[in-house]
């Protein structure tokens, strides 16, 4: 580690794959939009929210002509990753194809989104891009939304993990540092429904060859991926942990 990164700019985390997020001193809960530029297809991943739209948009513009974006992937429907979509539609005067689970497609129109949907569960959990590159989708129900779906890019071996592997931390860096597992636990203990459900879902990742995990909150994991998977598999979580507090 130890490299100096300029967080005021988009950061290329892999060939043609960019982090378009932002930093905020006083926030423990940052969001991470990403972008895959695959030539004929450009996929925006978890684009972000209303208050950060302008920052996000200027970073987007710095890496591609925004008009080239044709797909948007969202892992679920939360406002921190979806409310920027109608603003983007308006700014570019165009619509997109949104890659997500059917359960999410029912909720997204309530944000005023006009784009069409590609329900990944209706298409064999995959999408082949024009270049032949394949995106795979892995279902992670109830972690934390019933339709939660994460995306794996076969070419880069990056897992775009939605809320999974996200962290809650004021001591943020783009790439996970020494104590990131603790930041990750702090988030998951509150947002994940139960140890059994989390373990069942996270175990699905073991058959993938993952080089990097890029979550929608917190830091990117690029070393010791297995250690973080194990940490989530063994995490005690769920509201019943607070029994007796009410």
């Amino acid at each position: 580690m130890g490299e100096e990164l300029d967080y005021s700019r988009a950061i290329e985390i892999h060939d043609g794959i960019y982090w378009l997020g932002w930093t905020e001193e006083n926030s423990a809960f940052r969001s991470n939009p990403y972008l895959i530029d695959d030539g004929e297809d450009v996929i925006l991943i978890e684009p972000g929210s209303v208050p950060h739209f302008n920052t996000f948009y200027s970073k987007l513009e710095s890496v591609v002509e925004p008009e080239r974006v044709n797909y948007i992937f969202v892992s679920h429907q939360d406002p921190d990753l979806c409310t920027g979509i109608p603003l983007l539609e308006e700014r570019l005067n165009k619509t997109f194809t949104i890659l997500t689970h059917t359960r999410t497609t029912f909720l997204l129109p309530f944000y005023g989104i006009k784009s069409r949907y590609y329900a990944v569960d209706m298409h064999g959990w995959k999408l082949k891009l024009k270049s032949g590159r394949e995106l795979k989708f892995i279902f992670m129900p109830y972690c934390h939304f019933p339709g939660m779906t994460v995306m794996y890019d076969e070419k880069s071996k990056i897992l775009f993990s939605g809320d999974l592997f996200g962290g809650l931390s004021y001591d943020w860096s783009l790439y996970a540092g020494e104590w990131y597992i603790e930041a990750m636990k702090a988030f998951h203990e509150h947002y994940m429904p139960s140890k059994e459900i989390l373990r069942h879902n996270v175990s699905k990742l073991e058959k993938l060859d993952i080089a990097m995990i890029a979550p929608q909150h917190g830091s990117i994991i690029r070393e010791d991926v297995q250690r973080y998977i194990e940490a989530l598999k063994n995490l005690e979580c769920g509201e019943y942990m607070l029994l007796g507090e009410e």
């Binding site: 423990a28 809650l168 001591d171 603790e182 990750m184 636990k185 702090a186 203990e189 607070l242």
Partner: protein, 90 residues
């Protein structure tokens, strides 16, 4: 047998992740607790039980860092007390 000192180390390590090790080591020092780089407690002030220290640590943490500091380890602490049959002093 798990103890209140283990609970305090759990909190310290969790806050390392949320606020960074440096800040938490400095904060603990103000309470007379010496903490090592891996979140272990090296020494505590005389005359206070680990249980009392845990309560003081959490109260002062809330005052100094705000609610998120308490929320970020609340589930873990509950789970720890339940598992180890320890009374929750918080």
């Amino acid at each position: 047998m798990a103890t209140y000192r283990d609970a305090l180390e759990l909190v310290i390590r969790r806050e390392f992740g949320v606020y960074g090790a440096e800040k938490i080591i400095d904060f603990a020092a103000k309470l007379g607790i010496t903490v090592g780089r891996n979140g272990n407690i090296i020494s505590t002030p005389p005359g206070k039980s680990d249980r009392e220290l845990l309560v003081e640590f959490m109260n002062r943490l809330r005052e100094e860092f705000g609610e998120v500091s308490v929320i970020s380890c609340r589930v873990a602490l509950n789970s720890f007390f339940m598992k180890n049959n320890l009374e929750n002093p918080l």
